[in-house]
Amino acid sequence: MSVTKEVSKIKQTPQSDKIKQKPIVMYEDVHKSFGDVEVLKGINLQIKPGEKLALIGPSGSGKTTIIRMLMTLEEPTEGNIIVGDNNLWKVKKDGEFKRANEKHLRKVRGEIGMVFQHFNLFPHMTILQNCMTGPVQVKKESKASARERSIQMLEKVGLGDKLDNYPNQLSGGQKQRVAMARALVMRPRIMLFDEVTSALDPELVGEVLEVIRDIAQDGEMAMVLVTHEMDFAQEIADRIVFLEDGVIAEEGTPTEVLEQSTNERLQSFLHRFRSSNGN
């Protein structure tokens, strides 16, 4: 692995600027259990506006669950997730915190977008319709404007010639690029990526990473990437969080985490990981 990549080219704002800003997302002692099994055991994590965060760790360590809770797809069993000025899963009523209702969730999750491992495109809609439906239905944008922005976005991800195709007519890499365009036209302030390349044939991974790199360069959107692409994480992340067994075991800049850490579990994870990937 190349140790001294020129990381700074990608990152628009230096780390020091971001640290001063108020976090856009805060996890405060967040726990999550499925039945009797506690899969997250007290997560404390902050994400700054525009920050690119990579979440790494062994399979089953809880990475997906962390971001699914932020997308409101799983509810934490304990703790708080603060998005901007709002407590995501709780509303204060008569001085007491109550479980958030759908209306509250809708208000807060408008800031957040997500790209899934298995794309989850809408199979009954064309590529263009997949992108337009969010702006038109949810943001009540005019069809003309939604159409124009969707086409622009699809061109940006290199699919300007596939507008009227259906998802099942595309390759995996193309589908994932549509999924990114669909999320991006909603202009989220935080975008979540859940192992977006791991369902792809190896030769299609590059084109998807290329698009993410491109999005990252645009700058102002915060990104959380759950990924097994270590080189890529090192290249675009401001910060890497290593999750092990439901707790954050190590956290820092890519250099700190991937090269300087003495955490044994992290070492053995990276070692296993690199040897199984042949690099």
Partner: protein, 216 residues
């Protein structure tokens, strides 16, 4: 031979019962299908109760209930035999088809709902634009099959005195028993000819549904 024109007189009754029952049955299927998926406990239980009652008892008895028993017991007037016939058939088949509605909605991949949530759609929008269009494609072939079954079930209304194809056939036979084989053969042919377009429609629905829901 005068059998043919006599049977022909019954065709419009058969068709009216078929069309009204089918429309009402589909409507009931959706209402009860959604009812079974409701967040509200009492609605779920109530629709579950309705479905079990109508699937667990025979259509012909239900028909007699609507025509003879209910008007007497509760002193309600269901209008005429057409009303009773259509109600019994559509409530019966609506109960069966509600399970198709419910099953198809549940069968849509969970990732679809999650993607719709990620776009911040409302519950209604998720159902209307994402789940239902895919679920309906799954329902179509089964709906077609049930349409043919409803056609066959319409012949029961002759038992409450409606003058459908079978009714006219029965009258003919009672005046001339020797013709019975010919009469009932012709009746079979009549129903089969009516079913043909429905069979064709079902095939068409199957091919639509195959095209529609290839995985994303």
């Amino acid at each position: 031979m005068e059998i043919f024109p006599v049977l022909l007189k019954g065709i419009n009754v058969t068709l009216i019962v078929l069309v009204l029952s089918a429309i009402l049955a589909y409507l009931i299927a959706f209402i009860a299908g959604f009812g079974r998926l409701s967040n509200v406990w009492i609605i779920r239980k109530f629709t579950g109760f309705y479905i079990e009652i109508f699937r667990g008892t025979s259509l012909i008895v239900q028909l007699f209930w609507f025509f003879y028993a209910i008007p007497m017991l509760f002193n309600v007037n269901l209008g005429n035999e057409l009303m009773a016939g259509v109600l019994a058939i559509s409530l019966n088949y609506g109960a069966y088809m509600s399970e198709i509605v419910r099953g198809s909605i549940i069968a849509v991949d969970k990732g679809q709902t999650e993607a719709a949530i990620a776009l911040n759609m409302t519950r209604f929008q998720r159902m209307r634009y994402v789940i239902l269009p895919q679920a309906v494609r799954m329902m179509l072939p089964e709906f077609g099959n049930y349409l043919i079954q409803i056609l066959k079930a319409t012949s029961l209304v002759s038992l409450i005195g409606m003058t459908d194809i079978l009714y006219h056939g029965n009258i003919l036979r009672s005046t001339n028993l020797a013709m019975a084989p010919t009469i009932y053969l012709l009746i079979l042919v009549f129903y089969f000819i009516l079913a043909l377009p429905l069979i064709f429609l079902t095939r068409k629905m199957e091919s639509i549904s195959k095209k529609g829901v290839a995985q994303s």
